[in-house]
């Protein structure tokens, strides 16, 4: 009886650890996205500061590619939107993961209690 509980506990524990890993991954990804978000915001602002006479380049690999101002602004804007969308997605994912990990925690606690009871009896 105690062994069964132990096995179940192990299984649940692994699931919980997996959830935790996913959660941490999601968190890291979100942080990266946030950094990109701020950066792109700054780019956007600095593009505003520049006028049309300046040539804008985009670094693609080892090549600096010339870009138009409007194109650049558009691209940056799109990138910003993309980043915000990604952040939202990751947020939702994180919430889901948190919820599931909470459930796992409860299950683990219950199993632990059972195990202790079983061990106590035996």
């Amino acid at each position: 009886m105690a062994e069964q509980i132990q096995k179940k506990l192990q299984g649940e524990l692994e699931k919980y650890q997996q959830l935790q890993k996913d959660l941490s991954r999601a968190v890291a990804a979100r942080q990266k996205l946030e950094a990109q978000l701020t950066e792109n915001n700054i780019v956007k602002e600095e593009l505003e500061l520049l006028d049309a006479t300046n040539t804008i380049f985009k670094l693609m690999g080892p090549v600096l590619v010339k870009q138009e101002m409007e194109e650049a602004k558009g691209t940056v804007g799109k990138r910003l939107e993309y980043i915000t969308g990604e952040i939202k997605r990751y947020e939702q994912q994180m919430q889901e993961l948190e919820r599931r990990s909470e459930q796992q925690r409860e299950t683990l606690g219950r199993l632990q209690q059972e195990l202790q009871r079983g061990q106590g009896k035996g």
Partner: protein, 526 residues
């Protein structure tokens, strides 16, 4: 700022490395700060990390300052002669041209060519961001610093105050937690405990047993309690017969008292039961086990205080607990349809008194009878598992519970027994409750004496008050009857003897004052 190429305009710009850590670290810090646990250790960590970041950002800002300076001075000349780095180890002489063309990294792999002045503006814009981050970090650091200081102060205070935070309550009474356990853990014990009686009986003097009992540590007694309880639960509940009381009382009276004495030190509420002579074991669990008016060595009670010690039947005196049971509310029909709480403790004490002739146990086991209602509360019979108020002795039912049935001999032992029995007789005589109490105490004190006067009215002395012997030897006149009745309400045996001849009158005169035994005897022959 990267030194510009020799041909193209100078290129500069914060490397994305700078930008990214700026933002990532910033956001990371904020996130971390937002979720940091507030405890001393964490606060310290947060504060130090904040300080590090502040240092970092300050460096960045100073770099930007230097960059701005360079940008301002760069366009002064059309070209500069410089030593151009050639790989990590070599330099080459070269010229810095197009001093006004600056390729600025805007971030996220975006570049733009702009003039030096525009570059300066961009740098200024970046510096704004840096300063914002610095300010936030400073604020956070200040907050956490204050909190850390507070916790430090608190710790210092608590340390100085010898750690009053740590409050420990040592529960010495294990019976509460272990009651259920005791109940279920039965040890098979079939033999009544004889040694207990013996070891108790040896010292005639109550003091000896007390000392005997005293050497047992509390833990041992608790263990004994446990064992006793288990035994009893194992053996099951046995109804006590009235007849057994006397026989029991003879053997167990003193022993019980002794045991009780022993245990009173532990817990005034526990009762040592001597089940040896009877071989009766009572379950210690339910209130229904309690028998009113019937006293056996093995009876036990559920006290309000939860600790009932039943003497087991092993060679080792064991003490059982009984669980804490709220005293059952026994509807005692006192004529007013009142309900009095059945106090097991009092029942126990009563039973003890019944059994033990020289009741040596201490006052705590006495029923605390202070009012007439207490009497009804204390002396409640248990009939068929139900609590029935002890009826008047004049009623036929009381005869069933009459404890005192054997009053033929006039021996000291019997006296003791009778004394115990009488003590256990319900004090239906409300008026004499106090008196009986006092008498009981006196009796207990005199437990050691072989021939103690049975009951001494508190006012009178010892020997002279005890008219029992006198009464027994002679057929007493009615006049004598009321006297003992009044003086010794708990001496039914004496009265019983008289009752055959005279008590009939006495019983009627003060109906309350006549013990039920007397009344029973009165009615029996008739």
């Amino acid at each position: 700022m990267i030194p510009g190429t020799s041909e193209a305009g100078s290129t500069y710009g914060c490397s994305s490395k700078l930008e990214k850590p700026f933002h990532a670290g910033y956001s990371r810090d904020l996130r971390r700060v937002g979720t940091a646990n507030v405890n001393k250790w964490d606060l310290g960590l947060v504060v130090t990390s904040c300080q590090e970041k502040i240092q970092h950002w300050k460096k960045v800002e100073s770099d930007y300052e230097a960059l701005q300076e360079r940008l301002r001075t760069l366009p002064d000349k059309l070209s500069y002669d410089i030593m151009v780095p050639f790989g990590p180890l070599a330099f080459m002489p070269g010229k810095l041209v197009h001093t006004n063309e600056v390729t600025v990294l805007l971030g996220d792999n975006w570049f733009s060519k702009c003039s030096a002045k525009q570059a300066v503006e961009l740098v200024e814009h970046r510096k704004k961001h840096v300063r914002k981050a610095l300010d936030d970090l400073q604020k956070v650091m200040m907050n956490f610093e204050s909190r850390a200081e507070f916790t430090e102060d608190l710790q210092r205070m608590s340390d100085a105050a010898s750690d009053f935070v740590d409050i420990r309550e040592e529960i010495e009474d294990d019976s509460i937690g272990t009651k259920g356990k005791y109940r279920t853990a039965h040890k098979p014990h079939s033999k009544p405990k004889v040694s207990n009686v013996f070891e108790v009986d040896f010292p005639v003097n109550g003091n000896d047993t007390k000392s005997v009992g005293h050497f047992q540590s509390e833990e041992e007694l608790w263990a004994r309690l446990e064992e006793l309880e288990r035994q009893e639960t194992l053996l099951g509940e046995l109804d006590r017969m009235p007849g057994t009381v006397e026989t029991n009382g003879e053997d167990a009276s003193s022993s019980e008292e002794e045991k009780e004495d022993k245990r009173t030190d532990l817990n005034g509420t526990y009762r040592a039961e001597d089940s040896l002579t009877q071989g009766n074991f009572h379950k210690q669990v339910t209130n229904s086990d309690l028998f009113g008016g019937q006293l056996n060595g093995s009876t036990y009670y559920h006290s309000d205080d939860e600790d009932d010690i039943d003497v087991g039947d092993n060679s080792v005196p064991t003490i059982f607990f009984s669980h804490t049971v709220e005293p059952k509310r026994v509807r005692i029909n006192t004529g007013k349809n009142t309900t009095l709480k059945f106090s097991e403790k009092k029942e126990e004490a009563k039973r003890k008194r019944k059994n033990s002739s020289g009741n040596g146990h201490a006052t705590p086991e006495l029923p605390n009878i202070k009012t007439p209602a207490d009497i009804y509360r204390v002396f409640v019979d248990v009939v068929n598992g139900e609590y029935v108020p002890r009826k008047s002795i004049l009623k036929s039912r009381s005869r069933e519970n009459s404890v005192c049935s054997d009053t033929s001999e006039n021996s000291a032992a019997e006296f003791d027994d009778r004394r115990g029995v009488q003590r256990s007789i319900s004090y239906d005589e409300a008026t004499q409750s106090d008196n009986s109490e006092g008498v009981l105490e006196e009796e207990e004190e005199e437990e050691g004496q072989q021939q103690p006067p049975k009951k001494l009215p508190p006012s009178s002395g010892t020997a002279e008050a005890f008219s029992g012997t006198v009464i027994e030897k002679e057929p007493l006149s009615p006049s004598l009857i009321p006297h003992p009745v009044i003086a010794h309400p708990v001496l039914p045996t004496i009265l019983e003897w008289k009752s055959d001849e005279v008590l009939s009158e006495a019983s009627e005169e003060p109906p309350k004052r006549i013990s039920k035994f007397k009344a029973a005897r009165m009615q029996q022959p008739t």
